[in-house]
Amino acid sequence: MKSAQRPLELILARNLITSITTPAFLVDHRGHLVFYNEAAGALLGRPFEELGHMTPDEWLAQFGPFDERGEPIALDSLPTTHAVRDGRPMHAFFRIRTARSEQMVEASAVPIVASEEGSSGAMIFFWPRGEEGSA
């Protein structure tokens, strides 16, 4: 039987971020964006239902992120990658591209690990900031 269902820990994480007002992304074990909440939709200017699932290349092209000089940040250096690949949390500052403009944000990625087989994915929380932050 072909599996139609996400791991329980991802389902619970989705339910959590659906219920909070902090903008948040949910990625799976491959780093694919599988959900973001209403608050993240407001930050980005586009609801998740409009964009749907995205591979890392697709969400990089859509949102960035960029450093303070406007240079794209490599996927390997992002909190999401650390969380999914290494099972470690990471906090960073960077710019993202929204539907309206670029926005400086502070982001924390929290790995979701439910077995010895490794990460099931990660939650990434965003806090919009003024221009004082640095990448």
Binding site: M1, I11, R14
Partner: protein, 291 residues
């Protein structure tokens, strides 16, 4: 595939004159395969009656969904545990902190118990339920984690073309209404999809549920919505609240059938589990096909 309910109550045993028809014993079901092999689903207090029936013979497999007391309390009173010739295998959820035997041993040990697990004379094995499907007798068994408090499994058991799904403690609507979710985001969806019989948590009425959100159990409306979404052919609503009398459960059953019909189902395909009830899925299917 035949089943017999030995306990359908949730949380704590609820004996009493107002509980006689649905029963007061906690979760326990015997599943008898076509080969005669018996599987026991959970070891609530109902397993004491089952053990007293005294059918000896083949290895006994007990599949635990989780280790809350209403699912293991009967283990210490399961007669085969005290027979030296009995062979028992207990399957259950894994934990990063301790083995299944050690966790069950917290209950079967002082000061809660006069005996220790190691003192039981039967041949006793403990296994974490595998991540992939495995065979028990003539059945294929699959276990997956489901939404409840603490590590909790649901089971999908298939023999031939008949499938039973058992998810006695489950809150799939926690944080998100089931009706609006894609299947990939519904806890237990794969386990229950297209089951011939779904035995599912239905501890609360919809009116009671708001005071129990996050406790790990389903309201009637959510249980039915889950059964509808997974395409269950028949539902047995389970894990009755210890405060719900026979009369109260009768009314819940009436409401369940009406709401199942509203969802487009056959109202006769939904009922509340009652202690002592028996179902023969294979015979019922054969009879349905003949008619």
């Amino acid at each position: 595939m035949r089943i017999k309910i030995y306990g359908a109550r949730g949380s704590v045993p609820a004996p009493g004159p107002h509980m006689n028809r649905y029963g007061g014993n906690t979760s326990c079901i015997q599943l008898t395969l076509a080969s005669g092999q018996r599987l026991i689903l959970d070891a609530g207090t109902g397993i004491r009656t089952l053990g007293a029936a005294g059918e000896a013979g083949e290895r006994i497999h007990i599949l635990l969904t989780h280790l809350h007391l209403d699912h293991i309390q009967g283990l210490m009173f399961f007669a085969p545990c005290f027979h030296s010739e009995a062979e028992i295998t207990i399957w259950g959820p894994s934990s990063p902190g301790a083995s299944l035997e050690a966790r069950i041993g917290r209950y079967i040990s002082a000061p809660l118990s006069p005996v220790e697990v190691r003192e039981l004379p039967c041949s006793l094995e403990f296994h974490d339920a595998p991540a992939s499907e495995w065979e028990l007798g003539s059945a294929s068994v699959r276990a997956e984690a489901v939404t409840h408090r603490g590590p909790t499994l649901g089971y999908r058991i298939t023999e031939g073309d008949l499938t039973l799904c058992y998810i006695p403690d489950h809150e799939p609507a926690l944080g998100a209404p089931i009706e609006g979710l894609a299947p990939e985001w519904i806890s237990g969806y794969d386990l229950a999809r297209g089951a011939d019989l779904l035995i599912h948590d239905c501890q609360y009425t919809d009116a009671e549920y708001p005071d129990h959100v996050g406790w790990g159990h389903s309201a009637l409306g959510d249980a039915l919505a889950f059964g509808h979404r997974v395409g269950a052919r028949r539902m047995l609503l389970f894990h009755h609240d210890p405060l719900h009398s026979d009369e109260f459960l009768d009314r819940m059953g009436d409401a369940a059938r009406a709401r199942w019909a509203d969802l487009g189902g056959d109202p006769g395909a939904v009922e509340l589990a009652a202690e002592g009830a028996e179902l023969n899925l294979a015979a019922e299917r054969a009879a349905a096909a003949a008619s």
